[in-house]
Symmetry: none
Subunit: 209 residues, 4 copies
DNA sequence: GATGAATGAGGCTTCATTCAT
DNA sequence: TATGAATGAAGCCTCATTCAT
């Protein structure tokens, strides 16, 4: 997954004081974005959250876009880390699917506010649309490969198109997480994982164990 | 479904000339929103698209948000109309599900640009979030009732939770449409409907006919 | 002489009220530039001098540069008009030179403050340097042609190089005007014209009448 | 001629390291001013050119204006030195005038970039206007004395006003140098000196040798 | 002394909304 | 009713100067 902030060239501090200030700004930016969304966040809000003067923001970043890119990079890295931290508890397809779903929901829940902001920005920023596209591509690609593998093993019948299945089931998990964790529809994590996994497996004709 | 613009009290023209101008503005607004998204659309753009003077906008609307509400009302009405215009070709669950999915995709495709804009605005406007919540509620409610009915008829087993299933499968259809029609991922409508329906049915344990 | 504002595309008002406001802005800009120089003139100063709101400036101009270009165009037109309004009182070279010098000094005096501002801006703006270059070229070209003519008539000897003479004598008149009318060195217009003309004629070997 | 920086009280370094740093700053300032003009030169540019840290600038100078004053002092000293380094090759008025003109053009050429910057700053800084006024006064005063002397010797007739003549001919030389060396109009130094001197002498009625 | 980070005042521009014709 | 001009609040960015290490 490409880094969003790769192209950006923010000022890199030399001193430890500078490193501290820069980190404060990134943390402050995340707090501000989570509190007010991207659109309603002003540079002055970021500076206030970071507890530095207005002008200090521009010592390290040239725009709100630039610091946002860095916050998103951190977000995605954290998302991946949490999602993949789930313990492997079985080797059956259902176990793998459940593990993936649980990791996804957990990572989403831990970063729900920023995921909402990312979802927001992806609707008007071409660059962030690309970021989301890449993130989606990553999950869809993984699923597609697994489905093909299961078809090769005779576990999934050939009437299933791996591309459509991966896209649709990915959409299901991603959007369900949004509905529960951003829109705030009622849910229980265990039940959600269980039902998501059941629907996922049965739609492919896989045993639910 | 509540109308977004119910609360607003827009100026209602008495003369036919006024009605024409007002209609031009609504059409111009939709064109402008579709072209540039909500955020990048200025009142001046709407007036220009409508081919009326800047100030005329405020003869009929008090704000950009107000005219947007009206555009969204029209959008949702059109969406419903198209979605429900699908011919009933069978009485089996699979036939009903396919009809619903096909109607949804068709309606989405016909209004894809505005759906993208609605998706955008729903990320920062509480009122529009409510509109989307209602639209979602409508589809989920319908599905939930159908699933319960199928369970009563013994077609769907009791391990399926109607609320989660309706939520997740609704998310699947809604998000897949977004991925294909807004993000532009490749798809073929017939194949998409067929696969969506297959996944939908099998996840519930329904025959795909 | 090319117009500086040719490329600019300012908003052209439709109504008479708009025309009045725009004219107020141009007049206010000139007043502000004359009072504080180009560098110390803020958009807010121009708006204040024009007695309009801050934002109104941007209804007609996109920047301080743009309105300045228009003020300079007006300045140069006025300069030319005044300089050429001198009555023709004789046909001898000395009479023509005196007439030119008197016209130049008079036009300079009537526009001295803006000439100072133009001189200032020409030191850092490539576009305005070009304007000044053109204005200079106009006068030098005229002189050069006259000198060649006088050489052809045997009034000026061949040791004079028309290009250098026109350049140097143009520099003399132009800079003397600056010294007297911008720097404020003491001078009397009649004496200045008389002495300038004397030096000019004698340097070329022309009779001073 | 008064020194521009006389009133200022810059920090005078005690150590040799300090002296070196200070000298680097002055050299860097000149380089920066010549590169970008006064207005576009930032303190950070000066520090960068001098290869010292940003804050070090303020160890030795209190402002951009202060270091500029010092650069200008150096400039004028160098100008004088070069202008006066011309060998005395004759005692006739024409020889003295030619020597002065040649020295002026040579000194101007060697310092053309900074002369342009000085010309720029003199349009908005009262202090630098004074500096230029003094420099001008120096040359005009010298010429005026010479003309009076020549009048006493019967070499220049009484119709010439020494003040006007010195002012105008000084303006001619000064502005011609600017036109050639700052504006970049084509010129050849020998021809320029020759023609300037010819015009200068003949305007006063002096033999050109 | 030298360094590089922190500060915040100042000026610019946009554009939703109001107003005069 | 239609028009298009006028308004000014809000947010952005720069950079001279000050400060902590």
């Amino acid at each position: 997954m490409a880094s969003l902030s790769e192209v950006a060239t923010p000022h890199i501090p030399t001193t430890s004081r500078g490193r501290r200030t820069r980190a404060q700004l990134v943390a402050g930016a995340r707090a501000a974005f989570e509190k007010n969304g991207y659109l309603e966040t002003r540079v002055v809000d970021i500076a206030a959250e970071a507890d530095v003067a207005y002008g200090t923001f521009y010592t390290y970043f040239t725009s709100r876009e630039e610091i946002f890119a860095e916050v998103v990079d951190d977000l995605l890295a954290d998302f991946q880390a949490i999602a993949h931290a789930e313990p492997r508890v079985g080797r059956t397809p259902a176990a793998r699917i459940e593990r993936s779903n649980r990791g996804y929901l957990r990572a989403y829940r831990k970063n729900a506010r920023m995921m909402a902001v990312l979802e927001q920005t992806a609707t008007f920023s071409e660059a962030l649309m690309e970021v989301r596209r890449n993130a989606r591509g990553y999950w869809v690609e993984r699923s597609q490969r697994a489905i093909k593998q299961w078809q090769a093993e005779g576990l999934v019948d050939e009437s299933v198109d791996p591309y459509y299945a991966a896209t649709c089931l990915g959409a299901m998990v991603n959007r369900s997480a949004y509905v529960w964790l951003v829109l705030g529809e009622p849910y229980d994590e265990d039940a959600a994982v269980e039902q998501l996994t059941r629907l996922y497996c049965r739609s492919l004709g896989l045993p639910t164990d």
